[in-house]
Subunit: 365 residues, 2 copies
């Protein structure tokens, strides 16, 4: 039986990987510098044209007063929640159990700030208005992740967002947007970023997911908020003498891809439909609401991996290099970037035809 | 009377600035990439050849078991002190009142970790053995900055370091090296980095001072220590998906400049001697022990600035763009890099001759 490494290896060999923009290598940085003037002065501890212009550009795009560039979203979001806790004098925030801060940050929020957390909704569904209205006791801030990565990018509809925002405003609960993939969700909402961000007190966005930069984040809000965030950025050691390698690349790929989010979204819907046509497999959400979704296979990883390897090797189309065990079955994440549109349609059809047949055969064993 | 901005402007215009390696601009990054293969795979959350090889290289250079690349020294050092506090079960560390953590980090150590600090020695002198032996009560860790930037790079002699290290070992006090400019101090000690680092439990070094990279730091120690530091690095949001822009440039300039530290040191001694020949001015230390020193002028900034501007404009040699008020007089920092050796000796002599004459004239007014 083929093991996990053989799936990774087979995925690495395919001519047509469906995920992402391309290989993650030094060329990403080189490309973003190729037309830059070497005489442009480095940013210095948050000052200088290269950082200030980008911060203003993204603040405008998000419809917020000011914005601060951070090395990472982890740092930016912990700081946002800390500021709101201090402002409200309440040491507790609410978010989803699959929030990045809860599962991917080694409990930084709790270890560094002693902030308590209230978990809303559960691991199978996103936060809805009822969850927010049901909050008992005081919380300083509610964090909403939009779209929610760990649930395949599921997102509340815009009207729900408006109601949650209104409720939080009435109750004095600050509303923070984890917009790691906000750009990718805009085509679904058919709203501008600023229309969505207007519902939130503070917003974080990322530049290495749909945008495809190297790393880095923006935290945006009103002046008072962002000025406080700069003090915390220094406390964290995030106020690097120069952040321009991340800023230049963020700007380059933002310009290149911000208008391609609809293409990625349409690609995700098309691909999900093809997958949902196969037996023993379905996507979550069944119709994507961003450029991403999860695939759930109805059998364990040990069954699915060799089937995928066979499909990859026969058709040159690869869906994932990494299956995750889940409840005795398995799943994976798919996100659509530049690569998908360049795959010949007949190649995709052949791959999903074969995948469907292989899974069908398996159901008859 | 010329103001501060006119000094900055005059310094910006000189043909021969004595400080540093060169202009801080995007070319620094571009140069470090020019011979790199674009196919080199990005590091990913601390894994991958590009980060692992550099970490191993610097661990070897420092004579430590392992090393971890951090976005900043601020982050690396707070984490080092936190780890030692946790290990000792003591919530207090000792360092100098002009320690970076005390004056440049918005109290990050105290705000994020509630760690108490004991200040040793005073703002006019470095920490000596007696200060360490005089510590009352328990401290988890002593931080020594070597050379001490805010005191013009002054450093204890090697024998004193050995005695402090021995004392700390006996008392169970962990010894951490703030080696932001350690490379620059090696020619004075006539020791290898590993001979000095052997006296310390943990070591931080920087890649954008004497090395002249863009940003980034290494924290080194034994495996147990560095593994813990990786967990904290994630908590801080310093475990970026990719750090390679800083690593590639750190490695490039490390290779280029690590063997030039003696040249910089000799330059600093030569320049300091010329300055000390002028009236109304002296350097601290009087003979540099690294590539840096401070200049203390015996008159207020308002007096000295127009004199410097005149010298810069007449001779094309610039010493500083930034005078700092101090006790009714003024001072500045000088550090020697690549630029100094390319200044024609007669230009330097003319500049210091004129500076001497101008200061002399002033004493007769």
């Amino acid at each position: 039986m083929k093991d996990q490494n053989s799936l990774q290896e087979a995925f690495r060999q395919v001519a047509y990987p469906v995920i992402g923009h391309g290989k993650s290598n030094l060329q990403i940085l080189m490309d973003s510098l190729k037309d830059m003037d070497g005489n442009i002065v480095s940013d210095r501890y948050g000052k200088g044209q290269v950082i200030e212009e980008f911060q203003e550009k993204i603040a405008d795009y998000l419809g917020k007063e000011t914005a601060v560039f951070f090395p990472s979203g982890t740092m930016a979001q912990q700081i946002a929640l800390r500021i709101w806790c201090d402002e409200r004098g309440i040491n507790k925030v609410a978010y989803h159990p699959l929030c990045h801060l809860e599962i991917h940050e080694q409990d930084g929020l709790k270890e560094l700030h002693k902030i308590e957390t209230l978990l809303l909704a559960d691991e199978n569904r996103i936060i809805q208005l009822e969850d927010v209205c049901g909050i008992k006791g005081d919380v300083a801030c509610l964090l909403l992740e939009l779209p929610q990565r760990e649930l395949g990018g599921k997102s509340p509809d815009f009207h729900t967002l408006e109601l949650i925002s209104k409720y939080c405003l009435e109750k004095g609960i600050k509303l923070h947007l984890d917009g790691a993939r906000l750009f990718e969700a805009l085509p679904y909402y058919q709203k501008s970023a600023s229309e969505i961000c207007a519902l939130f007190d503070s917003v974080y966005v990322s530049f290495y997911k749909g945008i495809g930069g190297i790393a880095g984040a923006i935290l945006a809000g009103d002046n008072l908020f962002t000025e406080k965030s700069k003090i915390w950025k220094r406390r964290y050691g995030g106020d690097l003498i120069s952040l321009y390698p991340y800023i230049v690349s963020a700007n380059y790929y933002f310009n290149q891809r911000i208008n391609k989010m609809t293409t990625y979204y349409e690609g995700a819907k098309e691909l999900a439909a093809q997958i949902n046509n196969c037996p023993l497999v379905n996507t979550e959400p069944s119709q994507p609401v961003s450029n991403m979704f999860h695939i759930y296979f109805g059998e364990p990883r040990e069954i699915i991996e060799p089937i995928l390897v066979e499909v990859y090797e026969a058709t040159g189309v690869g869906i994932t290099g990494n299956l995750i065990d889940k409840n005795g079955k398995c799943c994976c994440e798919v996100w659509i970037g530049d690569r998908y549109e360049h795959i010949p349609k007949e190649k995709l059809e052949a791959a999903f035809q074969m995948l469907g047949e292989k899974l069908q055969e398996y159901t008859f064993l």
